[in-house]
């Protein structure tokens, strides 16, 4: 049965109104698809995060009823899984096959799937498209070259659309090489403030507002977005979801004077004054989850102050952590001065030396922790444990026997980070512990940490 012809202009208008600021890109995509008879050359759609790439491409293809397979490269990177998913989508399998999907796929080979494609998208039929989201993740894999040359290799009427935050010219496609045909690029630039306001206004919370009040309320929402949300958030994030989350939090407070009857919708000064405390709180905790809901610093309720350690660690692990902290802050040349009782190094005195030490300490703090070999960590740990054992008679030998297990645990907890690939031979670690946590641990085990940090 022949499909009714598509009103292309109507579709484009609908899409343009749905995606403000993307008119040009929608028209470009529509032109590339054309009448859908012959697959176009590869298309690279690139732009930053939250610029509407995926949504626009999907909607354009869906509205123009172009058969396509949408693949997320976050999910599939292996050639077989990727091609199987493409074939399944071209076969028209909808979402009901969750209970019988793997039987045949298990038996098929990559080449079998590849040679099925001409049958699924023959040259005399309308073109099929493969939309690869996050295509840059396939950059170093041969499957990308295969997909780019799929039409040439198999003769199938298949086009490919790559979505990525990298432009095609950035190198991930290897343009100009014999493996990769030239591609058309469509850029999705960041939204302007007005475009952001238009997008956010599409989801304005006006469901409960009477029809006659919707106009003024929408104008107030526009003003709210322009005067409150964008100045507050757009400096740190221009993602639509971040702006939307903040707008949802603040809109009720902005509208409270209207609900209480103390102000009209048009009195924007009063409404702005009502939301000002929330804005100040947001500015103070700009990155906390309480407002943005996305970017988190957030020690959350698990952080405590003082000497109470919120992180429960075995006794041995605490000393290991301290040893790692000392090793990551001190230079190796300092160790001998700290731990060798027979060391008689020449000590320079004077104001100049003190200034230099302060300067070095500042520099070390800015550089952050440096990596240290496992041997050095164990040596420092053993010296600390020996001193501890002399003071408190703790079973140092027993504790030290577990040291490798504790290092593995600390690495697992990300308090230590292994920076060299090999676990034991020439292993290097970096201490991921903040200064506050290190001081808290030191207080917990009554260890004078300050006297072991020498920046010379």
């Amino acid at each position: 049965m022949a499909q009714p012809p598509i009103d292309k202009q109507g579709v484009l208008q609908a899409l343009t109104s749905r995606f403000p600021g993307r008119t040009e890109q929608i028209e470009q995509l529509s032109a590339i698809v054309g009448d859908g008879r012959v697959a176009a050359t590869p298309v690279v759609v690139h732009g930053g995060p939250s610029t509407g790439k995926t949504a626009v491409v999907r909607e354009v293809f869906a509205s123009l009823k172009v058969p396509c397979a949408h693949i997320s490269c976050n999910e599939h990177r292996a050639a077989k899984a990727l091609l199987l998913s493409v074939a399944a989508q071209f076969k028209g399998r909808k979402r009901g096959h969750w209970d019988s999907g793997s039987g045949e796929s298990r038996s098929e080979q990559v080449s079998d799937v590849l040679w099925q494609l001409p049958g699924l998208a023959p040259p005399h039929m309308p073109a099929h498209y493969i939309i690869l989201d996050h295509a840059h993740r396939l950059a170093s894999l041969p499957v990308l070259q295969i997909l780019m040359r799929l039409r040439e290799l198999t003769g199938a009427n298949i086009g490919i659309v790559l979505l990525s935050h990298l432009a095609g010219g950035s190198g991930f496609l290897q343009h100009g090489s014999h493996n990769c045909p030239p591609a058309v690029e469509i850029a999705f630039p960041d939204y302007t403030d007005n475009q952001l306001v238009q997008i956010l206004a599409l989801s304005a919370p006006l469901d409960e507002v009477p029809a006659q009040d919707k106009g003024p309320m929408l104008a107030a929402y526009h003003a709210f977005l322009l005067s409150v949300v964008l100045p507050l958030v757009a400096r740190s994030s221009r993602r639509v979801e971040d702006l939307h989350a903040v707008a949802q939090k603040m809109w009720p407070a902005y509208l409270r004077p209207v609900r209480e009857g103390s102000a009209q919708v048009s009195e924007r000064g009063r409404l702005h004054a009502a939301v000002r405390p929330l804005m100040q709180a947001y500015s103070q905790a700009a990155n906390t989850d309480a407002f943005s809901g996305t970017s988190g610093s957030a020690a959350g309720p698990s952080s405590r102050s003082g000497s109470t350690l919120d992180l429960e660690l075995p006794y041995c692990a605490k000393w290991l952590l301290l040893a790692a902290y000392v090793a990551s802050r001190n230079r190796p040349s300092v160790d001998r001065r700290l731990f060798d009782p027979e060391h008689r190094g020449r000590r320079r005195k004077g104001q100049h030396v003190h200034d230099r030490q302060v300067e070095t300490a500042t520099e070390a703090a800015m550089q952050g922790p440096h990596a240290f070999p496992l041997e050095r960590l164990l040596s420092i740990f053993w010296h600390l444990m020996r001193a501890e054992a002399e003071q408190q008679l703790s079973p140092a030998a027993e504790l030290a026997a577990e040291v490798f297990g504790q290092i593995a645990s600390l690495t697992c907890l990300r308090l230590l980070v292994q920076v060299s690939p090999e676990a034991l031979e020439d292993a290097k670690y970096r201490c991921n512990v903040s200064e506050d946590l290190a001081r808290t641990v030191a207080r917990n085990v009554r260890f004078p940490l300050e006297s072991y940090l020498l920046y010379t």
């Binding site: 899984a81 979402r95 988190g296 429960e312 164990l378 079973p395 030290a400 026997a401 990300r414």
Partner: protein
């Protein structure tokens, strides 16, 4: 068949003997499997035999103890520990329930919000954020939370959610994709074990089916396996929920030695987050991440693009210390009768070990289990523990049925202990404030130790009955003393919570009291904290504070078993204080809170109030370390000045103020009385631990040396000690101590002790040479051996430095090129290999053994009978049988394999060009790199 073949076949059949006969009846496993379907027959001889075997673990402790009594001990062991363990497990499981309920609430709220958002037809790009609950365990004791997320999934399923649990191993799919994880999620969502789809499309397809088949407002419960429970009203209004419980790689004690063990799960976790974020519009998912450290670590683990997709909300699970506090409060000092008591030695040792090594309540419970088993095996009266669960009355009943021998033995012990306790300087361990003579203690004293006279049968029966009664009384008395002790612990803890500062609260935390108040010196150590708390109580200036807090103290007293009866006097005194405080509070003129508000005159804020400052100065003499008089006078004068200024400022309220000040006098009296009660209770009931009472022997589990040997908190150290000092492990300390490395040791011990002599890596061929020397064989070139023997300090490889210097001792080339077998093999091809390097004289071959023997004698300190520790002692060359080199190689290989299996070494990649090396996985206190450099 040819005759030769037949004979060979016959030989083959006779070469093997049947190890195990074909069973003539059902095995235990089959019986267990068919027990539900087939009615079990009466206990046959096999079950009786099994009981007998189990009973062997409970040997007779007293002469004449019958089998029935032993069986009673065995049953009591089972019953009491089962009851105790069930209580403890219930307490530990309930500890995280509040946090899990919060997580469930968060999940439900997120779903409701998203349902609303879907109704508003928001654009897809607004649905990228994944609501994420981060459950933070706060430490490496996250092993305690092994079942936490399973419980969470069950809880979510019970609330009508689709929930799935992912563990780190689910993210490690060999194909490098998310197929395994997604398939597992789909299987758990759908409840179908054969759900074939393994991608996001399948998951979305399943969800679409659910939405199509189930109308939104009449959503049926999910099809996930598990019990369906009534759902809340909020869920009834919504569509089927989809939630995903996902545990991230937590601080489980994994010991992965592979390269970047966390890299692949982390990468997969990022992919999973991106995939779920992309599918939020069609398949809304809430993620619950389990973390061991803190939320800030999530930033370290996940890159910003992935992290920014998570809308996180932290939830804190209960930490090990809090779980321990809960365990002590509800179980160890709980409302059940103390059928099992735990001795001070056990408590201090277990507490120390758990803090040092594991930090989990599970290790404490394990200690207790071992101690309990030992107690029931060794204590004849332990059968009373089962009756103690019912209370003292049941003990009297059970005592009347005990064996006469057991009763007489227990009574004799009881009398002996009492005599010891009453003796000055006895074993009461009370220190100061020794406890008063227990009630009824005089009944049994003075009669112990007497031989039972041969009187008439009636008299002996009477005597036995009297002894039974005394034994039962003693046990009941110990239980009562325990109750008073526990109630006092609760009282101190409640008082510290109500009045004390943070330092006082640390001292009187319930777990601290439980583990440390058993020590005789506890009252001495905590005297200062007790005094501080008493001063804090005396500063109370408001009857409101008293009426608020005294009921808490009364509740605390009533919390343990029979607490109210044991501390009846204290409870009565507290009731009286409460009544008086209530009277003061109800009187309108005397109520400080009823006064008109004066700036800075909050009744509780004693720091800001001059009146409270005056009280402070009154309480100051209590401190023995108070400052000099001048300072006290200065404080007094400043307080007076402040008071005058304050009164001048509020002159219009002077009368009411004076009335309030007058009313504070009775409050102070009450506060002093309260402080005295708390202090006196501590000195009365904490001075002596209840387990030191004679009757507590029936219930008290203590940790003896044998039980301590059964437990090891540092398993790697135990392995090290068993291999390095086998005489300690084998129990023949006197014979083997200081014997060094000799051929009488196990091969693994020899190999390990030689291994310890080297640095972080060891050349296998060098190691094997040392191994052979222990057996009097040498694979070293004789000429070189002679050279080395003549050189001082280089007698044996065992006496070398940390790292065997390559080149200082040359072994055969074949030995350095491969395994020990290869090292052993070239003993025949010595001449060819010897051509490399310096020219050698053949005449030194014969000299080598003597020279080597001489060097070992030097190392042994010229004392052939007692060789020096660490020296290599070869067998007597003449008398000892020569072990073939091939056999030595095989044994050495087996020993190294065993060491490798124990995780003490691993093959090293270092120096592969020069031979095989083994790397040490045992930490050695080798010191710093510059040590040994002179």
């Amino acid at each position: 068949m040819e005759p030769e073949e037949a004979s060979q076949a016959e030989k083959a059949t006779t070469a093997f003997s049947v190890v195990r006969d074909v069973p003539s009846k059902l095995t235990a496993r089959v019986q267990k499997a068919t027990a539900s379907a087939v009615k079990l027959p009466a206990p046959d001889s096999s079950s009786v035999r099994a009981d007998g075997i189990m009973l062997q673990a409970f040997p007779p402790v007293v002469d004449g103890e019958g089998r029935a009594h032993r069986a009673a001990r065995m049953a009591a062991c089972d019953d009491t520990w089962s009851a105790f363990s069930a209580q403890a497990q219930a307490s530990l499981q309930s500890s995280s329930r509040a946090a899990l309920r919060s997580v469930c609430r968060f999940v439900r709220d997120q779903h409701c919000a998203r349902t609303k958002r879907r109704c508003q037809a928001a654009p897809d790009l607004l649905q990228k954020l994944i609501p994420t609950a981060v459950a933070i365990a706060g430490g490496v004791s996250a092993a305690d939370h092994s079942s936490t997320f399973g419980d969470l999934v069950k809880m979510l399923q019970a609330e009508g959610c689709y929930a799935a649990l992912l563990r780190p191993r689910d993210l490690q799919h060999r194909s490098g994709s998310l197929a395994g994880a997604l398939q597992r999620v789909l299987r758990q969502f759908s409840g179908a074990a054969d759900a074939g789809g393994c991608d996001m499309r399948a998951l979305k397809g399943w969800y679409t089916e659910q939405l199509e088949t189930r109308p939104v407002n009449t959503a049926a419960p999910p099809t996930t396996p598990g019990k369906r429970k009534a759902r809340s009203a909020a869920d009834q209004l919504s569509s089927p929920l989809d939630k995903l419980g996902l545990t991230s790689p937590t601080g489980r004690r994994t010991r992965q030695t592979g390269a970047s063990p966390l890299a692949s799960p982390m990468g997969k976790l990022q992919d999973l987050i991106h995939v779920f974020s992309e599918g939020q519009g069609e398949l809304p998912v809430t993620v619950v991440l389990g973390m061991a450290t803190c939320l800030a670590m999530l930033d370290q683990m996940l890159p910003a693009p992935s992290r920014s997709l998570l809308h996180t909300q932290p939830f804190r699970l209960m930490q090990a210390v809090e779980r321990m506090e809960e365990l002590v409060s509800s179980v160890l000092l709980g409302s059940k009768p103390p059928a099992l008591m735990w001795g001070p030695g056990l408590l201090s040792w277990a507490h120390k070990q758990s803090l040092l090594h594991d930090c989990t309540p599970a290790s404490l419970l394990h200690c207790m289990q071992v101690a309990a088993i030992g107690h029931f095996q060794a204590q004849p009266l332990s059968s009373l523990a089962a009756a103690a669960m019912q209370g003292p009355e049941a003990i009297h009943q059970v005592c009347s049925t005990l064996d006469a021998a057991v009763v007489q033995h227990a009574h004799a012990e009881l009398c002996g202990s009492r005599a010891l306790m009453n003796h000055p300087g006895g074993a009461s361990g009370g220190g100061q404030g020794a406890r008063k003579s227990p009630r009824g203690a005089d009944r049994g004293t003075g009669r112990g130790g007497r031989e039972p006279s041969r009187k008439s049968a009636a008299q002996s029966k009477d005597k036995l009955g009297r002894e039974r009664g005394e034994v039962a009384d003693a046990v009941a008395e110990a239980m009562t003393a325990w109750s008073a002790w526990a109630a006092t612990c609760h009282l101190l803890n409640a008082a510290a919570k109500a009045f004390g500062s943070s330092s006082v609260l640390d001292t009187f935390a319930l777990r601290t009291l439980y583990f440390e108040a058993a020590s005789p010196s506890f009252l001495d150590d905590s005297r200062e904290a007790l005094q501080t708390m008493a001063e804090d109580i005396e500063r109370i200036a408001s009857p409101h504070k008293l009426t608020d807090t005294v009921p808490q103290l009364l509740d605390a007293i009533a919390r343990p078993w029979h607490g109210k009866q044991s501390l009846a006097q204290e409870a009565a005194a507290l009731q009286a204080i409460l009544a008086e405080a209530q009277t003061l509070k109800d009187a309108p003129s005397t109520s400080t809170d009823a006064q008109p508000s004066i700036p800075g005159s909050s009744s509780d804020d004693h720091h800001a109030q001059p009146q409270a400052a005056a009280q402070n100065s009154q309480a100051a003499p209590r401190r023995h370390l108070a400052g000099p008089n001048a300072r006290a006078q200065a404080i007094q004068s400043s307080v007076q000045a402040a008071r005058e200024a304050h009164l001048a400022k509020v002159a219009q309220l002077r009368q009411q103020r004076e009335a309030g000040a007058a009313a504070a006098v009775p409050v102070q009296k009450l506060a002093r009385k309260l402080a005295a009660i708390v202090e006196q209770a501590a000195f009365d009931h904490l001075a002596t631990h209840p387990t030191t009472l004679p009757g507590a022997k029936a219930l008290c589990c203590e940790m003896g040396p044998s039980e301590r040997q059964a437990l090891t908190f540092a398993p790697r150290y135990s392995v090290h000690a068993a291999l390095a000092k086998p005489h300690l492990y084998m129990g023949n300390c006197d014979q083997q101590k200081g014997a060094g490395i000799h051929a009488g040791l196990e091969d693994a011990c020899i190999a390990y002790q030689l291994f310890l002599e080297y640095g972080e890596s060891i050349d296998v061929a060098d190691w094997f040479a040392g191994f052979c020397q222990v057996y009097g064989r040498s694979i070293i070139a004789p000429a070189e051996a002679a050279e080395e023997a003549s050189a001082p300090g280089k007698g044996a490889p065992a006496s070398r430095g940390r790292r065997g210097p390559r080149g200082s001792r040359k072994v055969f080339q074949a030995g350095t090129s491969g395994t020990a077998e290869k090292a052993a093999a070239p003993s025949q091809s010595t001449p060819q290999k010897r051509q490399r390097g310096r020219p050698r004289k053949d005449s030194q071959v014969a000299v080598a053994p003597q020279a080597q023997a001489a060097s070992t004698h030097i190392a042994a300190g010229n004392d052939s009978s007692v060789p020096a520790e660490g020296a290599v002692v070869p067998e007597e060359q003449d008398n000892a049988p020569r072990v073939p080199m091939q056999e030595l190689a095989t044994r050495f290989t087996q020993a190294t394999r065993e060491l490798q299996l124990l995780g003490l070494l691993r093959p090293s990649k270092r120096g592969r060009r020069h031979g095989n090396f083994a790397q040490k996985l045992v930490f050695q206190s080798g010191g710093l790199p510059w040590e040994g450099q002179g």
